[in-house]
Chain length 303, copies 2
């Protein structure tokens, strides 16, 4: 009974108004698995890196008890690289370069021991690959899908196939409107759930997140941060905290999903406070509980 | 002991993707006073209209027990007119025309019987006029200020004088960043409170609102509306519900202010469901309570 994550593993070069960093550990599977590890261990990862992937980064994942049995290392090739620059308000960024490298020919093979995974997070990769992952799995209890505007625009047919097979989708508000072709977010949410997933989480960055299930809606606040150092990976970290919490509690009630959303928000708030994965590497349960409770207090009204 | 509102009274021509309406009742003092009337009566208004202002619109205000002792009617001039068009997503609008008419020479004179008002809402008008209003009042217990980007850009010096004298400011997120000259909303909030007001409410439209007081923050959700017919007046209506609730309860604790913010959000959610003031005209206490409780449920997590 385990939690499987399929996604990218990357070296990111990031520039923000605060600082600049080259070849830092990144990628959806990395952020997801580290964030989820604070709730449930081990998290199993399927992904690919090049021969240049450093031992110190393997060690960071191993320190969080991430099971790398599904990590493929292509010795004579390079790890996926992304470079981006954030603007002053940190809500907008420019992608400066994307070098797919080993990721260009990534064909996820799910090792035998992972095929009966109960919880699956399909990280933000080509929907064609997401379908191949789903074909190899033996009926997981709960499947969470992450995707982005690039695939909504470029691989909509394949993405619609994926949507039919997943339980929950996590996307941001502009992507939700794009996917549903509907400017009203509430209508867009209803339309996306008609495409397949029973649960939908819409991330709104500095405005929090919304959880939908049928007619039920939960609105989660954003943590009021006066310094956002690096938003890279915040969405993946959110997904990781959410699915890690669900996997730990094995409770798919709407009431428990609210707590999973707050857990995701909690992890994302730590993520953006430092560059790369640094904000996630050395947390303890007490810090996480404290932040979680601060989230609860933000919206609490005492009668 | 009363609640005084000083602001604009207007005829609005509005076009949305749904419909088009000409010369509909509008203006900050109108929306504020009708919204506040559901919590506390009478609300007294100081404003100006032209000889073209219709009896039916006077009647709408009177039906809500709005005290029009401070309404100046300039017989041979026209009422302030505004025309605007909303885009498909309803979050953006173009101002098509603004005819100040009687409003160009508006010099608010506070009638003797209002000078000891305990609660004052300074609607979104020229800060020079807001200062003149403050000069005529005898130390109100609680002063709420509404303003907008136009005054922040054009009359900053005068606006800073007003800010020193008020207890609460209500503005939207882009205006808060503009006023504080700070892209981070949390830092911007701290900076605005240093300008004078102890309480700050930042409206975020479809993302809800934030209430600040020193280090304390409350995050209010937005009501999930699948149809927004006309956003005109939503901000004024929010302010009206908020100040009406505060005036009714006479409780300036942070805990009670949270409820005031939800009351403002409740009224604003009704406002946008119909054109002009139509959504506010015929509400009853039961509808308002129901909507208020739906707001509470949106963010509630049961332990």
């Amino acid at each position: 009974v385990s939690l499987l994550v399929v996604g990218s593993i990357a070296y990111d070069s990031i520039e923000t108004p605060y600082d600049k960093i080259d070849n830092a550990l990144g990628g959806s599977a990395v952020y997801v698995s580290i964030a989820a590890s604070y709730y449930s261990q081990p998290v199993s990862v399927v992904g690919v890196v090049g021969g240049d992937f450093k031992q110190e980064h393997i060690d960071i994942l191993k320190n969080h008890n991430v099971d790398l049995g599904g990590l493929k290392i292509v010795k004579d090739a390079e790890t996926f690289r992304w470079a981006g620059k954030y603007h002053d308000d940190m809500n907008n960024r420019d992608s400066l370069s994307t070098e797919l490298n080993v990721f260009a020919e990534f064909n996820p093979v799910i090792p035998e021991q992972y095929r009966r995974s109960e919880y699956l997070l399909l990280g933000n990769i080509d929907p064609v690959l997401q379908l191949r992952v789903l074909d190899q799995l033996d009926n997981p209890a709960f499947i969470v899908l992450d995707t982005m505007d690039f695939w909504i625009k470029g691989k909509k047919t394949e993405l619609m196939e994926v949507l039919k097979k997943v339980d929950m989708v996590i996307i941001n508000d502009s992507e939700a409107k794009l996917l549903a072709e509907e400017p009203n977010l509430i209508k867009a949410a209803a339309r996306i759930m008609q495409m397949g997933p029973k649960y939908l989480v819409i991330k709104k960055g500095e405005h929090g997140a919304l959880l939908f299930n049928g007619d039920k809606i939960f609105s989660a606040a954003a943590y009021p941060l006066s310094e956002v150092f690096d938003p890279t990976g915040a969405g993946d970290t959110f997904a990781g905290g959410l699915v890690g919490y669900l996997h730990k509690t094995r409770d798919l009630s709407f009431e428990n999903m609210k707590k999973a959303v707050i857990s995701g928000s909690t992890m994302a708030s730590f993520c953006v406070q430092k560059f790369s994965t640094k904000g996630l590497e050395n947390l303890d349960a007490q810090q996480i509980d404290k932040r979680y409770n601060e989230f609860i207090e933000l919206t609490k009204i005492n009668d």
